[in-house]
C-alpha cells in the first residue's frame, strides 16, 4: 500500500518529461495538470488509508529504493560509512504534506491555464516549471533522510528561479529571481554544512544503531537514525559529540529554514518576488513550496530542536518578531502584491514561533490553512490586478457587483486568513496561541519563561494586526462603486473566466471549511494525527487560545472596516516603517558586501582567465586547426575511395585477429 507513495512523487516528474512532447502549449498544460491530478488522487488514497489505520500510530513506512554503498575498497576509511538512501518515507506528516502540496499545485495550474496568455512565449516552460517544482516539493517531503531532502531543497530553488523569472525580459523580474536565488543560497549552504556536520560527527557511531528491517546498512542521514543519535549525544553516548554539537547543527538547520522561509534578516527577496512573478507562481511559492519547505525542515528535524532548546528559543523569538513586524508593515501597504508578501512573511513567522515553543501540530496545521487562504488570496489578487490594471488597492472598488465570484472568494479567504470565528484560520491560529501558551516540547523541554511571554505577546499582536491587512484589501477592492479615473475602462472589470474563478473559489471553500479537522477536543483531530515524537498532541489551553483569537480577529477586522470608511486613518508608519518595508536596508548591505568582495575579486580572476586563454586555450585551438587542415585532404569525397579504405580497415582488423589467434602477434600471445 505504501509503495503508492512512489507514484505520488514520480507522477509530477512524468508530467515534466511528457510536457515537452506535444507541440501545442495547450496540450502541454493539459499533460502537466493530468499528472498532477493523478498525484493528488494517489496522495489522497494514501492519506485516507493512513487516517483509517491511525490506531497503528506511531507508524512509519520506509521504502528504500537504493542505498549508496562506497564498496569494500574504502572499508575502514572515512567515506565508507556514507550510506545515503534514496527512498520514500510514509508517515502521517508526509502523507498530509503530499496531499496538500499536490492539491494546491493542481488548483494553481488550473488557474494558470486561464491566467497566462497562450500566445505569449514561455507557456510550456511555465507549466513544466510548476510541475517540476511540485515534484521537488513532493520528493522533499517524502525523503527519508536529510541527504535526499537537501537534494530536492536545491532543486526547488532552481525551479523557482526559473518560475519567478517568467517574464525574464523585464530586468526587474530577472533581478528579483536572482536576488531570491542568491539569498536562499545562504540557506542551501547552511543545510549542506549541516549535512557535512552530521556526517563528520555521527557517521562513526552509526554502527551502534541497528539497521532497519530488511536493510544491510544504516543510513547516517536517516531521520530516525539521527533521532536516536541526537538523544545518544545528549546522554553522552556518542564519542566526540555533546550539547554544543547539537546547538551548532540546530543553528545551521535554522539558518537554512530561515533563508527558505524568509524570516526577518533574510526576507528581502519576498516583496520583489511578489511584485514580479506571475500570480500562480506566487501562490505556489508562498503557500506549499518555498516557505513551507523551511517549516517542514524544522518539523522533520524536530528531535534536534527538542534537545537544543536554546536554539528553539532563538527560533521562537525570530519567528515571533518576524510575524509581528511583518504584520505591522502589511497594514500600511497599498500595493496589493506587497501587502500579500508581508502578510505571508508574518504568517510564516507565526509557524516558526509555534515550532520554537513546542507547538508542532499547530504549526503544521497553520501551514495548511494558510496555504488554502493565502493561495485563494493571491489568485484572487491576480484576477483583480488583471481586471483593474493597477496594483494599488486604493484604485480598486466595486468588485462585489462586477466580479461576483472572485470578490466572494476574496471575502472568505481574507476572513479565514484573519482568523474570523469558525473559519479554518480561526482554528489554526487558536491552536498556535494555545501551543505557545502551553510551551512544552514532546520530550518535556520548554523555552524560558521570558521568551515564552515575549512570544505569546507577539503572537497575539500578530493575530490582531494580521487581521487588518487582508480585510482592508477585501473592503477596498470589493465595496463601493467602480473607480472613475482617466483611462480606466469599466468594462474590463469582469471575471477572467471559469478556469480562473473555479480554483480560486475552491481554495476559498477549503479556507472556510477546512478547519474542521483541527477542532480541539474532537477525537482523532489534527493534533492526534500529526504530532512529534510518540505522544499525541494535547489540547489544553485550546479554549483560551480560540477565545483570544476570535476576539482579536474580530477587533482587527473592525479596525480594517474603520480604516476603510475613513473613521480611522491608517497610520503612516513613518521612517521606521519605510525602513522595514524597504527591507531594513539589508538589500543595500548585501549589495555592498557583494560589491566589496566578489566584484573586487573578479578582475583578478579575469586576469588569470585571460592569461590561461592566451597561453593555453589559443594554442590548443591552433593545434586542432592545423590537424584539421591536414586531415581534410583525406576526405576525397568519392565513394570508391571510401569503400577501398573501409575494406582496407576490415582486412587490417581481420588480419590482426587471425594473427593474434594463431599467436603471431606479441601482445595477444597471452591468450593462448
Amino acid at each position: 500500500m505504501y509503495n503508492l507513495a512512489w507514484a505520488v512523487v514520480l507522477l509530477p516528474l512524468g508530467g515534466f518529461l511528457f510536457a515537452f512532447l506535444p507541440e501545442s502549449p495547450r496540450r502541454a498544460a493539459q499533460v502537466c495538470i493530468t499528472f498532477t491530478a493523478a498525484a493528488f488522487v494517489v496522495s489522497m488514497i494514501l492519506l485516507l488509508y493512513r487516517v483509517a489505520h491511525v490506531k497503528d500510530n506511531p507508524y512509519q513506512a520506509l521504502i528504500t529504493f537504493w542505498t549508496f554503498d562506497p564498496g569494500t575498497k574504502l572499508q575502514g576509511g572515512f567515506i565508507s560509512d556514507f550510506h545515503a538512501q534514496i527512498g520514500v518515507l510514509v508517515d502521517n506528516l508526509s502523507c498530509v504534506m503530499m496531499a496538500v502540496v499536490s492539491l494546491v499545485s493542481l488548483l494553481v495550474q488550473v488557474y494558470a491555464t486561464g491566467f497566462l496568455r497562450r500566445d505569449e512565449g514561455g507557456y510550456t516552460r511555465h507549466f513544466a516549471g510548476l510541475v517540476m517544482a511540485t515534484f521537488a516539493m513532493l520528493a522533499l517531503v517524502a525523503s527519508p533522510n536529510l541527504f535526499g531532502l537537501w537534494v530536492f531543497w536545491e532543486l526547488l530553488g532552481v525551479c523557482f528561479y526559473v518560475l519567478v523569472a517568467h517574464w525574464w525580459d523585464r530586468p526587474e523580474a530577472a533581478a528579483a529571481a536572482r536576488r531570491m536565488f542568491l539569498i536562499t543560497r545562504i540557506g542551501d549552504l547552511a543545510l549542506l554544512l549541516g549535512l557535512v556536520f552530521v556526517f563528520a560527527k555521527f557517521a562513526a557511531s552509526v554502527a551502534q544503531v541497528p539497521a532497519a528491517a530488511g536493510q544491510t546498512a544504516t543510513d547516517p542521514f536517516n531521520f530516525f537514525v539521527m533521532e536516536k543519535q541526537f538523544s545518544g549525544a545528549i546522554a553522552g553516548h556518542v564519542a566526540g559529540t555533546g550539547p554544543r554539537t547539537l546547538i551548532i547543527l540546530a543553528l545551521l538547520v535554522l539558518l537554512a529554514a530561515a533563508a527558505k522561509s524568509a524570516l526577518l534578516p533574510l526576507h528581502t527577496w519576498v516583496g520583489r518576488v511578489f511584485e514580479e512573478a506571475p500570480a500562480p507562481v506566487t501562490a505556489l511559492l508562498s503557500t506549499v513550496t518555498m516557505s513551507a519547505a523551511g517549516v517542514y525542515l524544522v518539523a522533520r528535524m524536530y528531535p534536534l530542536f527538542e534537545v537544543a532548546p536554546h536554539v528553539a528559543s532563538v527560533m521562537a523569538v525570530l519567528g515571533a518578531l518576524t510575524a509581528v513586524i511583518a504584520a505591522a508593515v502589511a497594514v500600511a501597504q497599498n500595493d496589493i502584491r506587497r501587502l500579500l508578501a508581508w502578510s505571508t512573511t508574518s504568517q510564516v513567522g507565526l509557524m516558526f514561533a509555534a515550532l520554537g515553543t513546542g507547538a508542532y501540530s499547530a504549526a503544521i496545521f497553520q501551514m495548511i490553512t494558510h496555504a488554502w487562504a493565502k493561495a485563494a488570496l493571491v489568485l484572487a489578487a491576480g484576477s483583480l490586478v488583471a481586471a483593474y490594471r493597477t496594483t494599488d488597492i486604493r484604485e480598486m472598488s466595486g468588485a462585489w457587483q462586477h466580479m461576483r465570484a472572485t470578490s466572494r472568494a476574496l471575502a472568505v479567504a481574507a476572513a479565514s486568513a484573519a482568523g474570523v470565528v469558525l473559519l479554518a484560520g480561526f482554528w489554526s491560529l487558536g491552536a498556535i496561541l494555545a501551543g505557545v501558551m502551553r510551551n512544552q516540547f514532546p520530550n518535556g523541554a520548554h523555552v524560558a519563561g521570558w521568551v515564552q511571554a515575549l512570544v505569546v505577546v507577539c503572537v497575539a499582536l500578530t493575530v490582531l494586526l494580521g487581521a487588518v491587512a487582508p480585510m482592508r484589501m477585501f473592503f477596498q477592492a470589493s465595496l463601493g462603486e467602480l473607480p472613475r479615473r482617466r483611462g480606466f475602462q469599466p468594462q474590463r472589470v469582469r471575471e477572467v473566466g471559469a478556469r480562473v474563478v473555479r480554483p480560486t473559489a475552491l481554495l476559498a471553500g477549503l479556507a472556510a471549511l477546512g478547519g474542521f479537522m483541527g477542532i480541539p477536543g474532537v477525537r482523532a483531530g489534527f493534533s492526534h494525527f500529526v504530532f512529534a515524537g510518540t505522544t499525541r498532541g494535547a489540547d489544553d489551553h485550546a479554549l483560551a487560545g480560540l477565545v483570544v483569537v476570535g476576539v482579536l480577529a474580530v477587533a482587527g477586522a473592525g479596525v480594517a472596516w474603520a480604516a476603510h470608511t475613513g473613521r480611522v486613518k491608517v497610520p503612516s508608519t513613518g521612517r521606521a516603517g519605510a525602513l522595514v518595508a524597504g527591507g531594513l536596508r539589508l538589500d543595500a548591505a548585501y549589495d555592498w558586501a557583494v560589491a566589496n568582495t566578489v566584484l573586487r575579486a573578479a578582475p583578478v580572476v579575469a586576469t588569470v582567465d585571460d592569461a590561461v586563454r592566451e597561453r593555453v586555450l589559443d594554442e590548443v585551438g591552433e593545434v586542432v586547426e592545423t590537424a584539421a587542415e591536414a586531415g581534410r585532404r583525406w576526405q576525397v569525397g568519392r565513394i570508391d575511395a571510401v569503400t577501398v579504405s573501409a575494406f582496407a580497415g576490415v582486412v587490417l582488423v581481420a588480419g590482426a585477429v587471425v594473427l593474434g589467434a594463431t599467436g603471431h602477434l606479441p601482445f595477444t600471445g597471452a591468450t593462448r
Binding site: G631, Q635, V636, R638, I639
Partner: protein, 105 residues
C-alpha cells in the same frame, strides 16, 4: 554429402567477395547499392548458418534473431537509399560515382 557449416560459410564468403568486387568495380550508383545488399545478404547467410548449426551457446536462436534484424535493417536501407538515388538522378541526370564528389573536405 550433407551440407555442413563450412559450405554455408563458403557461400557467405563467396557472396561477400562478389559484393565487394561489385562495390569497387561498378561505376553506377545503383550497382554499388546492389553490391552492398549482396554483402548484407552474405552476413545474413552466415548468421543463419551459425544459428542452424548450434553455435549460439546458451542462446541458440540469437543468430537467427540477428538475421531478422539485419533483414529489417537492409529493407529500411534500401528504402532510404533508393529515394536518395532517385533525387540524385533527378538533379544531376547521372548516377556515375566518379562525378559524385561533393563531400570532398
Amino acid at each position: 554429402m550433407d551440407a555442413g557449416i563450412g559450405h554455408f560459410l563458403a557461400l557467405s564468403a563467396l557472396l561477400f567477395a562478389i559484393g565487394a568486387f561489385g562495390m569497387l568495380a561498378r561505376r553506377n550508383l545503383l550497382g554499388v547499392l546492389m553490391s552492398a545488399q549482396v554483402m548484407v545478404a552474405a552476413a545474413t547467410v552466415a548468421l543463419a548458418a551459425f544459428a542452424r548449426f548450434g553455435y549460439g551457446g546458451s542462446r541458440p536462436l540469437s543468430g537467427a534473431a540477428f538475421a531478422f534484424f539485419v533483414i529489417i535493417g537492409g529493407a529500411a536501407e534500401v528504402l532510404v537509399a533508393t529515394a536518395v538515388l532517385l533525387l540524385v538522378h533527378r538533379r544531376r541526370e547521372s548516377l556515375d560515382v566518379d562525378e559524385l564528389d561533393d563531400l570532398r573536405g
